[in-house]
Subunit: 212 residues, 2 copies
């Protein structure tokens, strides 16, 4: 089971590292971070670099393809080298997946046409641009395409995917290993539960950042 996580400059680290931490614990998983060019990629805060050990040109036919989010992936939406690689990988993949705005890249590659999909709550409507039907759920499976909501949702997606790949017992063992027994101190993790003015503020800030 070869799992390729596509990274790029200005990615959101947890989008990639959440599912990595889960999927890398699958028995016989070979997990690799890949990028248009191999080397360190700076995260969106600038405070961290994650290394891509392999270039896309050297990454053929992974069994699982995962695309994280982060402001930097908007540059990939018209990057034909990356989009071609995504299309090719999707042709032979067992699972094609994304976290957060990673789904926009899947959309731009044409992968989401006619499918149900999700993304970060602030970007949900943008999925329509790619012919997808936005679904406000934490993890959405549509055939072999699996999309997760914002940032931290990649952990939940990783566990759901681990169960499909290796069975529920393995997924539960991984969950116990990473002690994923979440106890958020507040109930503000979704527009469903957060104060409305907070949701509006973040939506406005996000829209401004997109225009910048």
């Amino acid at each position: 089971m070869r799992i390729a996580i596509l990274i790029f400059d200005r990615l959101t680290a947890l989008d990639a590292v959440g599912p990595y931490e889960v999927l890398s614990r699958l028995p016989e998983a070979e997990l690799e971070f890949v990028a248009a060019e191999a080397g360190p990629k700076r995260t969106d805060t600038g405070a961290l670099a994650l290394s891509a050990d392999r270039s896309l040109a050297d990454t053929e036919a992974p069994d699982v393809l995962l695309i994280p989010g982060g402001a930097g992936n908007r540059e990939l939406l018209d990057d034909e080298v990356v989009l071609d690689w995504v299309r090719q990988a999707h042709e032979t993949s067992a699972w094609t997946t994304s976290v957060c705005t990673g789904s926009l890249v899947l959309g731009a590659a044409g992968v989401l046409e006619g499918l149900q999909a999700t993304t970060h709550w602030a970007f949900l409507e943008r999925l329509r641009e790619f012919g997808a039907e936005p679904v406000s759920e934490r993890v959405v499976f549509d055939g072999k395409v699996v999309t997760a909501a914002g940032v931290s949702a990649g952990i939940d997606m990783g566990l759901s995917l681990a169960a499909r790949i290796a069975g529920e017992d393995v997924a539960k063992a991984i969950q116990l290993g990473i002690e994923y027994d979440p106890q958020p101190p507040f109930d503000a993790g979704s527009p469903r539960t957060a104060p409305a003015e907070l949701t509006e503020m973040l939506r406005r800030m996000g829209a401004e950042a997109e225009r910048a």
Copy 2:
């Protein structure tokens, strides 16, 4: 607010990246990954490297110190350069924190003597070696020392700490920004809820790995 996250070879990536994703979003936070020697550090799976931008020698008096877990930190338990740095940083820190087995390093530095603390469930009793009182909770505050349970607990700790540093509204905004509305597909994230035989299996595997 200068936040230093200590990394090392064979760390568990999510231990560091969970709280990083939260704390880096604090207004006016300056977050840095630091290590005995600057440069890339391979995670415990081998599949990823995180970069330390600064050496410990160049990292003086951070306001927040965070030590993640991972098999590689057992080598730090008698590394006097690292332990001296932890002791010095703790003298002037506003918060001294750990995730997972990072608490063993705090313990070895003498920081946990007489305090309540937590760690990954499989290591809880080891905290007694350092004069700490183990507490089976997700996040434990004792004065300015904050310890989190295994791996994924660093996200919950990050949010609790963000609220103490910048107030609950900021912490809630961060939670909404990373869409931390966890929905684990299984209820197996703690020995409290996981099948007993699974807990025993992981405990045995962990003990074997420690002896290896």
